[in-house]
């Protein structure tokens, strides 16, 4: 798979403070990569370096295999976290203006924008002034302005902030469609559920360093600690005896469904899920047996904590 964005050993410092410290990651073509990190981790500086707003001190950025250039940046659709529109301009004029700044001709921009306005059902707002539209509507317009020039790379910084759940779902759908059509997406957000729903890969930053990166599924799989959720019919006593030495019982209690109990267990090392399931089935009636993989949030917190621990531990 070809790479749309390749960041290698990127460094940036503001005075004595290092904001980016050897950041390296790729955004493959057509993939959605989540950029995660606590406040002050360096996400904004990283994005601004890619966009040419900030000049990195060292490292390399390549766009579609070519060295970084301002012309190449024209091919990026950028939705910053701090975004806005000119209040005294008409929505349509403003969208055409932003498209022109991205190198589109006026006629082409108008035609493409009309299609996007139809697609996101905002066609009636073309002639309205921005001051007359709602915040959610303005967010949609901003999203359209970001994608109208069919960028090869989309950089979205908190794209769902300000959207109600229905419109958020709409935007997620559009982002996914764009990715399927070949657009690569770098998504910076604190909204973990949207990362889980959208991202093929994640890059986690902390204090300017990449503390965890890889495919989302693989990370969650590798972070799995053997936890299983079991819904069963039977007694807690029979269930605990059946667990024996195969697994730890973390929690147990009634489920929302009458007559069905719910337990959370953790497999002991070397024990397979199928071995445990066979053992349990001999004592209780198993309704569901679910593998509980870690959430992105727990992976994120774990990675940050590990990084902090490593940093605070003196070298031996």
């Amino acid at each position: 798979m070809s790479t749309t964005l390749q960041v290698t050993q990127l460094e940036k410092a503001y005075g004595p403070q290092k904001v980016l410290d050897g950041v390296t990651f790729d955004v493959p073509k057509g993939s959605i990569v989540g950029l995660l990190g606590p406040n002050g981790a360096g996400k904004s500086t990283l994005i601004r370096s890619i966009m040419g707003i900030v000049e990195p001190d060292a490292g390399d950025i390549r766009l579609s295999g070519r060295p970084w250039s301002r012309e190449a940046v024209q091919g990026i659709g950028y939705l910053p976290e701090e975004r806005g529109l000119y209040k005294d301009m008409r929505v349509g004029d403003q969208a055409v203006y932003f498209a022109q700044l991205k190198g589109m001709k006026k006629a082409d921009a108008t035609a493409a924008l009309r299609l996007w306005f139809d697609r996101l059902e905002v066609q009636g707002w073309w002639d309205k002034k921005v001051s007359d539209i709602s915040k959610g509507m303005a967010q949609k317009i901003q999203f359209i302005c970001t994608v109208v020039h069919r960028p090869s790379l989309l950089i979205l910084d908190e794209p769902l902030s300000g959207f109600d759940p229905i419109n958020a779902r709409r935007i997620i759908k559009e982002v996914r469609t764009l990715a399927e059509e070949g657009t690569s997406v770098l998504l910076s957000t604190h909204d973990m559920p949207s990362v889980e729903r959208l991202c093929d890969q994640v890059v986690m930053l902390d204090r300017g360093r990449v503390v965890l990166s890889g495919r989302s599924e693989a990370l969650r799989e590798s972070g799995w600690d053997g936890t299983q959720e079991v819904l069963f019919k039977g007694t807690d006593m029979a269930f605990t005896i059946a667990l024996g030495a195969l697994a730890h019982l973390d929690t147990s209690g009634p489920s929302p469904v009458a007559g069905i109990r719910k337990a959370k267990i953790r497999l002991r090392e070397g024990v397979t899920a199928s071995a445990l399931l066979s053992a349990l089935m001999q004592s209780v009636d198993i309704v569901e047996f679910i593998k509980v993989r870690p959430t992105m949030e727990s992976l994120f917190i774990g990675a940050v904590e590990r990084a902090n621990t490593t940093e605070s531990t003196p070298a031996s």
């Binding site: 503001y14 301002r70 990026i76 950028y78 939705l79 806005g84 529109l85 301009m89 700044l101």
Partner: protein, 448 residues
């Protein structure tokens, strides 16, 4: 820099402002208000003209004689007292008490005695002042009448021969340029013209400098700027903004000029046809006030024609562009470094100081456009836009104009680059601090 992108920025700035209701209103209102002021001033002047009936008490009998038919005293020199709309004379040898001559309908009494020919003084008695212009006319008329009396008394000449012999010397200025004598003088006229151009330029720079600053502050406040500078280089964006607002300023100036000219022409036509008041100064007996005649008499037209108008026009445009780019960039830099318009007002004072200093220096040019200080300030880019227009009007070598302009443009380019850098840093600034210290830091390329 990508010209297409700058063009798009210029067009946006121009379109969003020129098609605004407030712009159209302002553009229409100024000519209407200025013409209204003019019409009002003329009507006010005319309505305030009081008809003065002057009783001249010619006690020594110097300027009057008794008419054999009517028995009334009449002037010996009737042409010395021309008929005027707002001024008429009656003569007597012995005026009655104040209460009586006033009751007779006179508004002013003039008194003098035998010594008037030696001490050149008399009295003007009134309840309400006849006004400065009426007083001047009375003095002029009586002076001529007494001159007439003296001519008849002390010489063998008659009045018409005396007038023919009387002369006033006029010295015509000649200046030496490249070893040749050419028409000179008219410093005041040329200085005033140059000053008017400078004042207009100053006004435009200050007004539109403020507009640029507000525009930058607004873009920061509504968070559009990060999207913009991701697409366009900060310098290009700033240049587009400055040029766009400059185009707005030019549009407004052109519209004002056209509308005002049309308005004044219409007013002139109505005025001449008598529809709007009557020209008091074109009253019977007085020389018609024709601008060209007056200018010709005072040699004003000659001095105006002495100005190198093609250079003046080209210089005005060139220094408008240079000055506008320089000050526009400075105002943009101020706008970038602050979070609100109010905060920016304080920072604009040091920016406008050189301009105001140049303006003050330009006022000196009305007296003498060739002052050495003006030469020095003409080289200094922060003052050259306002100073050079005065110097061009006063007469200056073309190479000096070109060199001054080149210096101005180079400085403007430099400042535009620095303003672009400040603009870029300001986008990343969290807004917790602002001021000159931060500005200097950004110019040096430091800071988030």
């Amino acid at each position: 820099m990508n010209a297409g992108l700058i063009g798009a920025v210029v067009l946006r700035e121009w379109r969003t402002r020129v098609f605004k209701r407030s712009f159209l209103l302002g553009t229409l209102l100024l000519p209407i208000v200025s013409i209204g002021f003019m019409v009002g001033a003329v009507m006010l002047t005319e309505s305030s003209e009081v008809h003065n009936v002057v009783l001249v008490e010619d006690a020594p009998g110097l300027i009057t004689l008794r008419d054999a038919v009517s028995g009334q005293y009449v002037p010996r020199c009737p042409s010395c007292f021309p008929e005027r709309d707002n001024l008429s004379y009656h003569f007597t040898r012995e005026a009655p008490a104040d209460s009586i001559w006033k009751r007779q309908g006179h508004t002013v009494l003039v008194e003098y005695d035998d010594a008037v020919l030696q001490n050149h003084a008399g009295y003007l008695v009134y309840d309400k002042s006849p006004g400065a212009s009426a007083k001047r006319r009375i003095e002029r008329d009586l002076s001529r009448a007494m001159e007439h009396a003296r001519v008849l008394q002390s010489t063998v000449l008659d009045w018409s021969e005396y007038q023919r012999l009387k002369m006033e010397l006029t010295l015509v200025d000649k200046t030496i340029e490249d070893g040749q004598r050419v028409n000179g003088g008219g410093d005041e006229v040329r200085g005033t013209i140059g000053f008017m151009f400078s004042a207009l330029l100053l006004l435009v720079l200050l007004v539109y400098g403020g507009v640029i600053m507000r525009s930058v502050v607004e873009e920061k406040a509504n968070h559009v700027v990060e999207v913009l500078i991701a697409a366009v280089r900060p310098e290009a964006l700033l240049l587009g903004k400055v040029l766009g607002l400059g185009a707005v300023a030019l549009t407004q100036l052109v519209a004002w000029t056209l509308l005002s000219s049309m308005g004044f022409i219409v007013f002139q036509l109505l005025y001449d046809s008598g529809a709007v008041g009557t020209a008091a100064s074109v009253a019977a007996g007085e020389v018609p006030v024709d601008l060209l005649t007056v200018m010709g008499e005072n040699d004003v037209l000659g001095h105006l024609l002495n100005i190198n108008w093609p250079l003046m026009a080209a210089g005005s445009m060139a220094f408008f562009i240079g000055g506008y780019l320089l000050y526009g960039s400075l105002f943009a830099a101020v706008g970038s470094s602050v979070q609100s318009e109010q905060e920016g007002q304080g920072l604009t004072i040091p920016v406008t100081m050189p301009l105001l200093f140049g303006y003050l220096a330009a006022t000196m040019a009305i007296e003498n456009p060739d002052l050495p200080i003006l030469e020095w300030l003409g080289w200094f880019p922060l003052t050259s836009p306002v100073i050079m227009l005065v110097r061009i009007a006063g007469g200056v070598a073309i190479w000096e104009v070109v060199l001054s302009w080149v210096l101005l443009m180079l400085t403007a380019r430099l400042v535009l680059g620095l303003a672009g850098r400040i603009y870029r840093f300001s986008v990343l600034h969290d807004g917790s601090r602002s001021g000159w210290k931060l500005l200097v830091q950004w110019v040096r390329g430091h800071g988030k």
